[in-house]
Symmetry: C2
Subunit: 265 residues, 2 copies
């Protein structure tokens, strides 16, 4: 069993780390497409093409299950890629996203009105509402694009985050949501600010907390692909462009110094 | 004479439009690398590679002079590309950037202390100070990275721009600068906010106002490449990725509806 984790950049390292903490006996390869980040404003075709190259890379490295940790990539390319790697033809090439597991968690917690914040792409794609319809059409989702949060996090702008978030979250606070999905790998960095604004009665759904458990459940349902390694498993990290800043950010997000290798994508 | 204008995205359309207004009898091709924008966080090697592909495209379209309108691209790749297209070997392949013309304008205006705002890349590259040293080592430049301005402009965040700019410009106001270079294609959109903050005694140096005149001077010095067209010259617009949002932004920045074509880069 080798797990691939793909993100458009480095934010997905937060999910990678929490998966690692929960399942330290699984070989893991992380790939961040730092040459093409951010995906959120690009065309569907461009995002699909980047994702296809990324999963091809991870499959070529013998990953048999890939988690697409990026919400934009999950929304844009996951279904199409899953069609291309149908389990009946590629039993060793499975792809999971983050949208459906996050919605499942929200529904399991009993929410009837779910809030969602995400990039422009995620909100315009309507992927969360479309997938929620399939799970339970009675449940409502109230969506809000929050495009400035990633730049504020990446460019030392968190001192303005409260003011910007007050503005963004105002419409959501007027609806009676029980939970709020943080629909971007970066948003957990603003968790406490967001919780302060929405108040303690609203449960924040943060993918770095949700995905490891959902992945474990997936392995329990699919014992054929999840043989334990039984030793200290490997962790490799690849990016498509490397700078000192990227290295520093990677160490910071993953929470320890990691060795990053560059690969062509 | 066919002029190429290259930018990492669509902000350079502001310079393209002001060049067009001043010299309507020159054929012009604009290329925005929307598939890879923004350049500012990427490695030198990645930026150089994107720029090389872009100028190859414009040369293949018979441009004999290319203006690299993007400050990051000018800082990272211009000198190296100029070395590859030396005039003695490629008399029809000339490359100009925006950094040196902007500094020349500041010096001609008599400034002794020049302020500069730009992306992280521009400030870290130290390109403006390095080039100013060659023009006049007595003149000082005081630099300030302002990485949140482009996201604020692109994501309807201008209502927070004043507060962010107050913070960014505070160190510059303490120095006695006479002029302030807006070192990014997007910053002219915040011209009035910036002018209000720095006060009326500081001259803003905006590249959409400077480059057309500098280009005209260049043509006067090089009459061999600047034969006038003598008819309503053509204007073509290419991008490496196209979406409805990009089309709308392009129309808005250029100030009229334009027909954009997609090309592989």
């Amino acid at each position: 069993m080798k797990l691939g984790i793909f993100d458009s950049g480095l934010g997905g390292l937060l999910i990678a780390k929490s998966i690692r903490n929960r399942m330290p006996d699984i070989d893991m390869i992380y790939l961040g497409d730092t040459l093409h980040v951010p995906y959120g404003s690009r065309s569907n075709e461009a995002i699909y093409d980047f994702c296809r190259r990324a999963v091809e890379f991870l499959f070529s490295k013998d990953c048999n299950l890939i988690v697409i940790a990026c919400n934009t990539a999950s929304a844009s390319a996951l279904r199409r890629l899953q069609q291309e790697y149908l389990p009946e033809h590629y039993s060793e090439r499975r792809l999971l996203g983050v949208v459906v597991p996050t919605l499942e968690e929200a529904v399991e917690q009993g929410a009837k009105n779910i809030g969602l914040i995400g990039t422009n792409y995620i909100i315009q794609s309507n992927i969360y509402e479309d997938e929620l319809q399939k799970i339970d059409p009675e449940i409502k989702i109230i969506q809000q694009a929050t495009p400035l949060l990633v730049p504020l996090i990446e460019h030392e702008g968190t001192k303005w985050a409260q003011e910007v978030l007050n503005d963004y979250l105002e419409p959501l606070k007027k609806q009676s949501i029980e939970s709020l999905i943080l629909g971007c790998t970066h948003y957990p960095f603003l968790k406490s600010t967001i919780q302060d604004i929405v108040g303690p009665d609203i449960t924040l759904l943060s993918q770095d907390e949700i995905i490891p458990g959902k992945l474990e459940e997936y392995f329990q349902r699919h014992p054929e692909i999840s043989e334990p390694i039984g030793r200290n498993a490997s962790a490799e990290f690849y990016v498509s462009d490397i700078t000192d800043s990227y290295q520093a950010a990677a160490n910071s997000i993953y929470g320890e110094a990691i060795s990053i290798q560059k690969t062509e994508l």
